[in-house]
């Protein structure tokens, strides 16, 4: 692998590496609607005994928006390809992949593709399919998902005005710089909308049984996005998975209950 290529991938995904040099690598992937800052309460806890890698999916946070290709990222496969490339370029050996929300499925896809690159998977609030389908209960009807996409459209204007210029790298509006320099969860609205489509309309149930990598499913006891029964379904379908229920509500325990999340992951990795 050439150095130039390595730099490209690392810059594309705004990769930041911290923690103990030479230690086992752990990679944190953010979900829909945010960026790597979603892990700011959890990731530092691993810096003592891991090499900690954070990154932004293309179109989010500090990623390189010019790398965005609507066709590549029209399905989760494009993002999984990115993760595989990234792990390869890091050259740290097989990683522990911690994925939140949609990124947990992206991790599964990546591990199915290249099992040699993934030591273990931690899936926080995973769902292989959000739309109900016969006996399968994903939690949403197709109409409800359409409504979500409408909501995202409705927020297009406000969000693009506030977030767009920074993400797009427009340099002639310095007044936005100081206010938004510390802004979190920067998302290009058009990318976010498409990511939402790819997330909520995909069906990755068939990929679960193909993923042999040992996995941990972390589930909040109340989650409006990925209900408990979906989390259990994921753990049941994966050949080698452990299910842990967190005493937390909401879809983002990495922000609302980071200590529980950290403890559960450490317990899993120590086993």
């Amino acid at each position: 692998m050439s150095y130039a290529c390595r730099v490209d991938v690392l810059a594309r995904n705004n990769v930041s590496v911290s923690g103990r040099e030479g230690a086992a690598p752990i990679l944190f992937a953010h979900g829909l609607g945010c960026d790597q800052s979603m892990w700011r309460h959890a990731a530092p806890a691993f810096e003592g005994d891991h090499r900690v890698v954070l990154f932004d999916h293309v179109g989010f946070g500090g990623s390189d928006l010019s790398a965005y290709d609507p066709h590549r990222y029209a399905s989760l496969d494009g993002y999984a390809d990115d993760v595989v490339e990234l792990v390869e370029e890091l050259g740290l050996g097989p990683v522990v992949f911690v994925g939140h929300s949609v990124s947990s499925m992206i991790g599964v896809l990546a591990a199915v593709r290249r099992p040699d690159l993934f030591e273990r998977l931690v899936l926080v609030g995973p769902s292989p399919r959000y739309v109900d389908d016969g006996a399968y209960h994903g939690g949403f009807s197709r109409e409800e998902i359409d409504e979500l996409l409408e909501t995202m459209d409705a927020n297009y204007l406000g969000w693009s005005q506030a977030m767009g210029p920074v993400v797009m790298g427009v340099p002639d509006r310095p007044e936005l710089g100081s206010e938004l320099a510390d802004a979190f969860c920067r998302t290009d609205p058009a990318v976010g909308r498409r990511f939402a489509r790819a997330t909520f309309l995909s069906d990755n149930r068939d990929d679960l049984p193909r993923c042999d990598t040992p996995a941990l499913v972390l589930q909040c006891r109340q989650d409006a996005i990925a209900p408990v029964e979906v989390g259990r379904y994921v753990a049941d379908q994966l050949p080698d998975a452990r299910f842990v229920m967190l005493d937390a509500v909401g879809h983002c325990p990495n922000l609302s209950a980071p200590r529980q999340v950290v403890a559960a992951i450490k317990d899993f990795l120590g086993s």
Partner: protein
């Protein structure tokens, strides 16, 4: 509630909170409603006891808003403590109510330090909701207008890409390939199939079979409007280049969840373009086949035969375009023991070039006599070109071979030089007798070359030496080396020789070769 204007300042503030002209909510860190003001309860049409301490914010919103809260608002609130101007909809007694929401997270006044992970126990979330029916309607119009503009721009980009891709295409097969590639690039489609009725009445499919629609023997039928959507998201379009030629285009989307459904308006416009291109391609194929037949008919005439020489001719139509070029060869008796050999190349392609070639070929035969030196033959051809305006700028080599002594007299009008391959090895280009192409006023010149028994004289067109990846000088050097090697290996100068010269050329031009081996005068 306390009366306005009376009581302690704290009571007055509480009263103002409850009577505020915006809907106000206070939540705990998990989103459970701790308090709600009058306007909010009125909008919801629910009693205070059903909301306060009971409902979560998500339940007050429509499902889109709920997901948006969980995935976007919640995380930002955790990370930066505030979110502004988010458009969501409240589930109200009278239906959905569009509101704009601003949210602040902060420490609960006098709150205790929680046992939880991130001190949630002391966090409260204040939410203000503004009715935004008018504004939302207005914004929706703007968004619709923007979407429309984006779709239009996207459509133009696609049409432009298709135009560019189809412009150089001459054949129907190439058309199907180019269209498929262009649509894959611009729209990310998985497959494009072009169906055409064959002469036997059966459908013929051009393009990759990647779905059941493409595997069938018969394409799905477009509706009365000229298009139809299939269950798998494919769109079928009618192509109507001519009243006697109809095709169908089947475009299958990628199937990726994030891809938007195919835009039928765009595809209808693409189909119109494809129709025009299909008509043109079909016509080009027809005219090409006519021209090719004409060319073959003209070249097929009887060739001189004699024990004293052996004559091999090769004509190879180009593959870059379907159209024939104007390359030709000819050999005829000038007198007993004297043979004329001609290889030429007229400007242009297609039927016109084939017709011009025919006229010029006949003109050479008409003006050439045993008495005229090659340069004089060229003079007369110049006069013919000037008089008839046929064959301007054509190139040709005219050679007269005396079968008694092997003397070759020749002249080249802007044409590649003859190649002489020694009977016992070695090859050389003969560079004499050169002048400009036909119709260009210039002094014509002849030259001579001598053949030994067993020597081969090669006349050819530039297709044999021209390649994009090398200069003409290298082309000639390669020809000499290759001819010399071929003689050493005892191989003939025939189709195989032409093949050898064209190896690696993907889009070869027309190529003509005439090879005469002189056996000696006996």
């Amino acid at each position: 509630m306390t009366d306005q204007g009376s009581g302690r300042p704290a009571d007055r503030r509480a009263s103002a909170w409850h009577r505020a002209p915006v809907a106000l909510l206070r939540l705990d860190a998990d989103g459970v409603v701790l308090d709600a003001n009058e306007l909010l309860l009125r909008w919801l049409g629910r009693p205070r006891r059903a909301v306060v301490g009971q409902a979560r914010i998500g339940e007050l919103l429509t499902v889109g808003g709920r997901i948006f809260w969980e995935t976007h608002v919640g995380p930002m609130l955790r990370l930066q403590g505030r979110v502004d101007e988010v458009a969501v909809e409240l589930r109200c007694a009278e239906g959905r109510k569009p509101v704009l929401m601003s949210v602040r997270a902060g420490a609960r006044p006098g709150g205790r330090r929680g046992e939880g992970d991130v001190d949630d126990g002391e966090t409260v979330v204040d939410v203000a909701l503004f009715a935004a029916e008018q504004r939302v309607r207005y914004e929706r119009e703007i968004v619709a207008a923007r979407d429309d503009a984006e779709r239009t721009a996207e459509r133009l980009r696609t049409l432009q890409a298709v135009s560019v891709a189809l412009a150089p295409v001459l054949g129907v097969d190439a058309l199907a390939d180019a269209l498929g590639a262009a649509l894959a690039r611009s729209l990310g489609v998985r497959a494009t199939a072009l169906w055409l009725p064959g002469t036997d009445g059966r459908w013929r499919r051009l393009g990759a079979p990647t779905s059941y629609l493409h595997d069938a023997d018969v394409p799905p039928a477009p509706g009365p409007d000229g298009f139809a959507a299939e269950p798998d998201g494919s769109v079928v379009l009618e192509l109507t280049p001519r009243s006697d030629l109809r095709g169908r285009l089947v475009v299958t989307p990628s199937g990726s969840a994030g891809d938007l459904p195919l835009d039928v308006d765009t595809l209808v416009a693409v189909a119109r373009q494809a129709s025009v291109a299909l008509g043109r391609a079909a016509l080009a194929e027809h005219s090409a086949s006519v021209a090719r037949e004409l060319q073959h008919a003209m070249l097929r005439g009887e060739q001189p035969q004699d024990d004293r020489f052996e004559l091999v001719t090769v004509y190879r139509p180009g593959v870059r375009t379907l159209e024939v070029g104007g390359d030709w060869y000819d050999a005829f008796w000038l007198a007993d023991g004297v043979v004329a050999l001609v290889v030429g190349d007229v400007v242009g392609r297609g039927l016109n070039a084939a017709a011009t070639m025919g006229q010029l070929r006949t003109a050479v035969r008409a003006v050439a006599t045993a008495d005229l030196a090659p340069d004089e033959v060229l003079d007369r051809l110049d006069a013919f070109v000037e008089r008839t305006s046929v064959g301007f700028s054509a190139s040709l080599v005219y050679a007269v071979v005396d079968l008694q002594d092997g003397l070759v007299r020749y002249a080249c009008a802007g044409h590649p030089p003859p190649l002489v391959v020694g009977g016992s090895g070695g090859a050389r280009l003969v560079w004499g007798g050169r002048s400009a192409t036909l119709g260009v006023p210039r002094t014509r010149r002849s030259a001579t070359a001598s053949l030994l028994p067993g020597d081969t004289l090669l006349l050819y067109t530039d297709g044999l030496v021209e390649r994009r990846d090398r200069g003409l000088r290298e082309g000639f050097a390669a020809l000499v080396a290759s001819a010399s090697r071929r003689r050493d290996e005892g191989q003939a100068f025939d189709d195989g020789f032409v093949d050898e010269q064209l190896v690696g050329i993907v889009e070869s031009d027309d190529t003509c070769l005439l090879a005469m081996t002189w056996r000696g005068g006996a």
